[in-house]
């Protein structure tokens, strides 16, 4: 090629090539430099202290890093001015762009390192740009920002480079911190940035590879810049920004739907859509900065497009490919696949929130879409039925129409659920203010009677009721879901269950549960203002609420009998039932329904179909039935209720186990099933425990526990039954021990001790082969550890008031303590320790439970530890040492166990006991951990407390350790610093004594110590 050119061109080209080579080389060196300094995990092992690495990084970021950035910007500027870059040049361009990205993603260390310094040094994921002040001139120079927009416009078609340029812009969009001298400069920067952004993306067709990057930019802007800065930019600019956000959200949503149809592996639009919807949530959550209604139109658009993407043609575009062809595939869905309501919960929460902002539009829209589909579903099912009647056995029904309807209804119910109510955990769910206001605003135009009629007649078409347009829209939306539910129920009665969708059934009960939690028997005291239609329809003492409860109960009963084979659906159903009875007000109405009593009787009789339910569902059902029993009833009714619910359980159980030949027939399947069902029910009863029913439930369960111990003996060879028996004890201890007063607790301890004795007798020297040599084989061990831990938990959480809740049930008789918690637990530990092995600790659940247990014991009964038999003591100490090398959770537990052990030693004042010697060993271990190893800040407190107590106990050994460490230092400066630090560390507590004040002072000094020299000895 060179031959065709004259000498000057050759030289020019050579020069050029040399320049490119130089630039490439320079860029590689800079990249390597950056990476070396960026974090301790990337730094090379050169045998220097972490402190040294940290200092280097700080010096580097203030000076060199900025120079690298300035240089990079210059190179990029040069490239961006050129036309027609050669392939070689553009590869150099790309390298510099990546370099710029690396600089902008730098995790800046703050000027004062403080105590979290190593932790700060480490985190490198999703770093926001927060440079120090000295970067002000560099980064606030508007030409820098413009350059990156220009660069992106130039290379946006190259997907690899666009990734980097967008990432640079996203980092610039997250700029915050001391770099802004005042709010004004922040406003200017933001305005400028948004202008640049709008100029770049308006009027272009966005490439697939740009979607995620652009949404990151927007999401960073909305998250990082405070609302008052956002609203301070020129109004028009802000409006255009929000318009642009709306437009992008809708368009990414459509593209995300297309991706799903094409089943792409890489769902870029879905990711981008998620980000934008989340940004909306952030933006509208704090809406007092914007005038009312500012976002309404935008919300309508985003909401509409979401609905459109999720509905089938002709209303929507679901499953339509870009050219409008419908695609439909029946894929196998495994149980591991999350339900849409969980998988898309973030999206749905955002859409629900937008729906509330635009309630005027969204609620009527959802209502009409749902009502129309209910009618179609009804018609479709009727046609199928006629077809079946006309030609029974013809199985060639095309389900396409039905499936489309089910999928439409599925999404409409999910959106409705998220719109009308929040998912609250632990808090009292409240009607969202947007919904309440909307209902109140229209209540003067509403006819209450017609509203109640719409609600109360789910079997009729809403539009067939005269005056249906003058009804409360929120109630009408609820009644639309009830209409879906009614069509389902009728189809079941018509024997069309096989045509129904269990998914839709699940959606219905999920929605009803969510709705009932928030709206049913609404507590008016919680609101400033309440909508009249709401309080008339679902308030306390209304016919409406009584009717709905009856309807929901009917639904639950029907589902449990029809859908026992669909575990998730049965589970959602029984959860709805729990919601109905867990609050006393609702339970009072539930128990007035005859159906409730029928359900109780039917379940007690253990006959089909309820006994087909899976065991977790049966347990929850039992729990609900027990909870219902604590509703308000007169004494006679209450008596009758327990006779129906609990007594049969007892009677059946006693009848079985008291048979003369029970021993011989215990392995018969009917007998085993009866026993299993009883044990399952007992677990369910224990789950229903609340402070106001514990007295009754405990006494009831106690009778069983005694008998269960007998069963342990009978079923000693049947591990599944043995495990279930232990589980009953675990549940009772878990739910009730915290409420039990002394004498009752003692009864439970006694029972547990006997259980352990029987278990131990039957398992002594036992070896088994099992086809499943896995964790499950050790289920019994795990359960026993759980039981012991639960018993110990009383020492931490105790709500009992010396048998307060039992007063009137039985006179107290706790005078002589035959059994204490310590006895039970230590007996259990004697049992467990020999069975645990290092191999078993490889099972995470066993390992965690084991360490939790031994830590509890060390904390609560430290005085018992020295009394353990020698080999058990040794294995306990070895376990603790081993645990210190395990996961941080386990390590923390072990450290927590050391403190009380050392305190115990100090109290006993024996200097030759095995425990004393063991603690000396632990002093060294903890010392090394704190001083020499890379420190985990979460552990400082636990390690510090253990350390201090150990130091108190072994002062001479501690001094020795310090001496040894100091004498190994060759650098006099470091020696001095360390010596000073150690002096300071113990200055506030000399001589160290086990005094709380001193300990706290020591912990504070330790923090300073760690901040000061923590990075000095940890070497990389």
């Amino acid at each position: 090629m060179a031959a065709a050119l004259g000498p000057p061109e050759v030289i020019a080209q050579l020069e050029n090539a040399a320049k490119v080579l130089m630039q490439t080389l320079a860029c590689s060196i800079l990249t390597a430099l950056l990476s070396e300094f960026s974090s301790s995990s990337k730094t090379s092992n050169i045998g220097l202290s972490m402190e040294f690495h940290g200092n280097c990084k700080r010096v580097f970021q203030e000076e060199d890093l900025r120079q690298i950035f300035v240089l990079t910007v210059e190179v990029l500027q040069e490239f961006s001015r050129r036309e027609n870059l050669s392939a070689q040049m553009s590869s150099v361009f790309q390298r510099y762009l990546a370099l710029a990205n690396q600089v902008l993603s730098w995790n800046f260390l703050p000027p004062n390192l403080g105590r979290h310094y190593i932790a700060m040094f480490e985190s490198s994921q999703n770093v926001l740009l927060k440079p120090t002040e000295c970067w002000r001139e560099t980064l606030l120079d508007s030409r820098v920002m413009e350059l990156f927009f220009t660069v992106h416009r130039k290379i946006r078609e190259d997907s690899d480079m666009a990734q980097d340029s967008l990432q640079c812009l996203a980092q610039l969009a997250s700029l915050h911190g001391p770099i802004f001298p005042d709010e004004g400069s922040q406003v200017d920067y933001l305005a400028h940035f948004i202008e640049g952004l709008l100029n770049t993306i308006n009027g272009i067709e966005i490439e697939d590879s740009e979607a995620v990057g652009i949404s990151s930019i927007i999401s960073n802007l909305i998250t990082v810049f405070p609302r008052n800065v956002l609203t301070a930019i020129p109004n028009e600019l802000f409006s255009s920004f929000v318009n642009c956000l709306t437009h992008l959200t809708c368009s990414f949503g459509r593209s995300a739907a297309l991706e799903e149809v094409l089943d792409k592996d890489d769902m870029v639009y879905m990711e981008a859509y998620d980000k934008l919807l989340e940004s909306w949530l952030t933006l509208v959550q704090d809406d007092k900065h914007f005038h009312k209604g500012f976002f309404t139109q935008h919300a309508v658009q985003v909401f509409n497009s979401y609905i459109q993407c999720h509905l089938a043609a002709p209303d929507g575009t679901r499953n339509l490919t870009a050219n409008g062809v419908a695609s439909r595939e029946e894929e196998e869905i495994s149980e591991l696949q999350e339900d849409d309501r969980d998988q898309f919960s973030d999206q749905l929460a955002s859409v629900g929130m937008l729906g509330r902002i635009a309630a005027e539009h969204c609620i009527p829209l959802l209502t009409s879409l749902l009502e129309e589909r209910v009618t179609r579903l009804h018609g479709q099912l009727q046609r199928h039925q006629q077809q079946l009647l006309a030609s029974p056995g013809s199985s060639t029904i095309d389900n396409k129409m039905l499936d489309d309807l089910y999928e439409d209804i599925h999404w409409l119910i999910l959106v409705t659920g998220y719109l009308l109510a929040d998912d609250t955990q632990g808090e009292t769910p409240l009607i969202p203010p947007g919904i309440m206001e909307y209902s109140i605003k229209h209540s003067s135009e509403v006819d209450i009677n017609t509203t109640l009629q719409i609600l109360g007649s789910p079997g009729e078409k809403a539009s067939s009721i005269p005056g249906y347009n003058r009804t409360d829209s929120v109630i009408r939306l609820l009644s639309a879901v009830l209409r879906v539910s009614e069509v389902e129920s009728r189809a079941i009665r018509a024997d069309l269950t096989h045509l129904l969708s269990p998914q839709m059934g699940k959606d219905i009960v999920w929605f009803l549960k969510r709705w009932a939690k928030t709206y049913l028997l609404v507590n008016e005291k919680l609101y400033d203002q309440i909508s009249l239609p709401f309080s008339t329809a679902f308030g306390a003492d209304t016919e409406g609420s009584q009717w709905i409860i009856g309807y929901l109960l009917q639904k639950v009963i029907s589902n449990l009998s029809v859908w026992s084979s669909e575990q998730d659906l049965a589970n959602d159903t029984v959860q709805l039932l729990v919601t109905l009875v867990e609050r006393r007000e609702r339970a009072n109405l539930v128990i007035q329904c005859e159906n409730w009593w029928n359900l109780a009787k039917q379940f007690a009789s253990r006959s089909p179909p309820l006994n087909f339910l899976s065991s977790p569902v049966q347990r929850t059902l039992m729990k609900a039935l027990v909870l219902g029993g604590f509703a308000h009833m007169d004494t006679e009714t209450k008596q009758q209720y327990w006779t129906e619910v609990l007594q049969p359980l007892q009677q059946r159980f006693l009848r079985v186990i008291n048979q003369e030949n029970f021993q011989q027939m215990c392995q018969q399947e009917e007998v085993k099933q009866e026993i299993t069902a009883t044990l399952e029910a007992l677990c369910g009863i224990a789950e229903a425990t609340q402070i106001d029913n514990v007295a009754i439930l405990f006494n009831f369960l106690m009778d069983f526990l005694t008998n269960c111990i007998g069963l342990m003996e009978v079923y000693k060879n049947t591990p599944e039954t043995v495990n279930l028996i232990i589980e009953v004890f675990v549940e009772v201890a878990h739910k009730q021990i915290c409420y039990l007063g002394e004498s009752k607790a003692m009864n439970l301890y006694e029972a547990c001790l006997t259980l352990l004795q029987v278990y131990s007798k039957n398992n002594l020297g036992r070896q088994r082969i099992d086809v499943t040599a896995e964790e499950e084989q050790y289920q019994d061990l795990l359960l026993i550890m759980e039981l012991l831990t639960n018993l110990l938990s009383k020492e931490f959480i105790d709500f009992s008031d010396t048998d307060e809740v039992f007063r009137g049930h039985e006179p107290g008789q706790a005078a002589n303590r035959p059994v204490s918690a310590a006895d039970v637990v230590l007996y259990g530990v004697n049992l467990i320790l020999p069975l645990m092995s290092q191999d078993l600790l490889k099972f995470p659940t066993l390992c965690n439970q084991y360490y939790k247990l031994i830590t509890f014991i060390c904390e609560i009964f430290p005085e018992k530890i020295p009394q353990l038999p020698e080999d058990l003591f040794k294995s306990l100490m070895y376990s603790l040492e081993l645990g210190m090398t395990m996961s941080s959770e386990v390590c923390q537990l072990c450290l927590e166990a050391l403190t009380p052990l050392a305190e115990q030693c100090a109290k006993a004042q024996e200097t030759d006991s095995p425990l004393f010697l063991a603690t000396r060993h632990f002093l060294k271990l903890v010392f090394d951990m704190l001083v020499l190893q890379k420190h985990n800040t979460e552990m400082t407190t636990a390690a510090g407390e253990a350390f201090y107590t150990l130091v108190c106990l072994h002062q001479a050994e501690y001094s020795e350790l310090v001496e040894t460490l100091l004498s190994s230092q060759q650098d006099p400066v470091i020696y001095q610093r360390l010596a000073d630090a150690f002096n300071k560390l113990t200055a506030s507590s000399t001589p160290p004594t086990l005094d709380r004040k001193q300990k706290v002072a020591f912990l504070k000094s330790l923090e300073e110590f760690m901040a000061n020299v923590g990075g000095l000895l940890c070497v990389k």
């Binding site: 894929e331 869905i333 399947e669 599944e720 499943t772």
Partner: protein, 218 residues
């Protein structure tokens, strides 16, 4: 499917012969003496495998009938399996897969399409052979569940790879193989050391095997 109750029912056949601890030594001796005579009979049975099972059943018949007067005793009429709705099965429970009694080691559900009905996918391990079996069926279907029993017997001898086990009745049975693998070695070793051990025998669907050992309670 439902096998004859012969073998499996032996435990239930002799309810009245409770094995008391004081008479243990005497019983062991007596049993050991009787064992020699029996062994001869058994040896001839082993020769014709399946046949031996049948003759054994016949042997136990008269006893069984006598006991049948008490309708709740023993396994009178109990079948080797019983049906259960697929969804009510549970992991670590038992099920019959391809005609074999299996422990369920994996149980998962799936559906065809989002609105399809649940199907249950079962993976079981043959409790006797350790072979793996799989099955998939609609969750509304009924599956057969084997009746599983476990009984403890005292080990009083090992001969030609067969265990001599003392039953509650005082009779000795010698038709159970010494298991292969670690458990078998363990049994042999313990026996050789003169330790008194109990052998847990698992039975289901007319088959039996030793599955666990433990020390005798003193």
């Amino acid at each position: 499917m439902c096998g004859p109750g012969g073998w499996v029912s032996r435990q239930g056949v002799h309810p009245q012969c409770k094995f008391s601890e004081t008479s243990a030594a005497a019983a062991v001796e007596a049993a050991a003496a009787a064992a020699a005579a029996r062994r001869q009979r058994l040896d001839s049975r082993r020769a014709d495998g399946v046949e031996s099972l049948r003759s054994r059943e016949l042997e136990s018949k008269p006893l069984k009938m006598a006991d049948d007067l008490d309708f709740e005793t023993g396994d009178a009429g109990a079948s080797a399996t019983f049906p259960m709705q697929c969804s009510a099965l549970r992991k670590n429970g038992f099920v019959v897969l391809k005609g074999r009694p299996c422990k369920i080691v994996e149980m998962s559900t799936s559906k065809t399409g989002k609105h399809g009905h649940a199907k249950v996918h079962l993976v079981g391990i043959d409790i006797f052979t350790g072979k793996k079996y799989e099955d998939i069926c609609p969750s509304t279907h009924n599956m057969d569940v084997p009746n599983i029993k476990r009984n403890d017997f005292q080990l009083i001898g090992i001969q030609d790879g067969y265990l001599s086990l003392l039953q509650d009745s005082g009779e000795v049975r010698e038709d159970l193989r010494l298991p292969e693998g670690d458990l078998g070695k363990e049994i042999e070793q313990k026996y050789d050391c003169g330790e008194e051990i109990l052998i847990t025998v698992l039975s289901a669907m007319t088959e039996e095997a030793a599955v666990a050992i433990k020390a005798m309670a003193k």
